[in-house]
Symmetry: C2
Subunit: 113 residues, 2 copies
């Protein structure tokens, strides 16, 4: 049996994963390993097996594109870039996140009664 909390943290992360990735790419192009690293730095831990398929999905949806770039060391890197359409959608996700935050805060405060 798994820890309920751990399991639920995972659940929560899932919901905001696409949003997080779009946010990161909105400030500059990054390659997959680097995105994973950046997410880890803000305690949003995500596995490779989650990230790669997700990036591919977002590319198929037209939110991202990519270009190959030489690495100073090791194999070439696939730098992902957000598209104009991606930025449009990101604005919507910003709103969705704000709405969700407000919702949770409402319940939290209401439950102090």
């Amino acid at each position: 049996m798994e820890s309920i909390i751990e399991n639920n943290k995972t659940q929560m992360r899932r919901g905001v994963l696409e949003y997080s990735i779009l946010l990161i790419l909105a400030s500059g192009d990054e390659y997959a390993s680097s995105i994973i690293q950046k997410l880890k730095e803000v305690d949003i831990i995500v596995a490779e097996g989650t990230t790669y398929p997700l990036l591919i999905r977002l590319k198929k949806l037209g939110l991202l594109t990519y270009r190959w770039e030489e690495s100073p060391q090791g194999p070439p890197r696939k730098y992902y870039m957000i598209t104009d359409y991606g930025r449009e959608q990101l604005a919507g996700l910003d709103a969705a996140w704000d709405e969700l935050s407000r919702g949770i805060e409402s319940i939290r405060n209401g439950s102090k009664a």
Copy 2:
């Protein structure tokens, strides 16, 4: 093709559903239909087919129990109550939510650079 935003709002909600329900029950016992109603009021829309299995799962995990109570109108209601164990876990989820919020805010602010 589905709306990306709508789809993602759903994703985000998913992550916090258990948390939301525990929050609501922490402030008082409620029956399923009432929980769904309260969530809707704060724009966290959730289907019956999601809620009932979830309540059953949380009960099995020992976070909730329930009692039957007569309704002034219609069939009897199953009032769910949070257990001590449930409150413990809720504290952990509070922390998880705060951590996630902080993470997102970090990325958001960082991406304004």
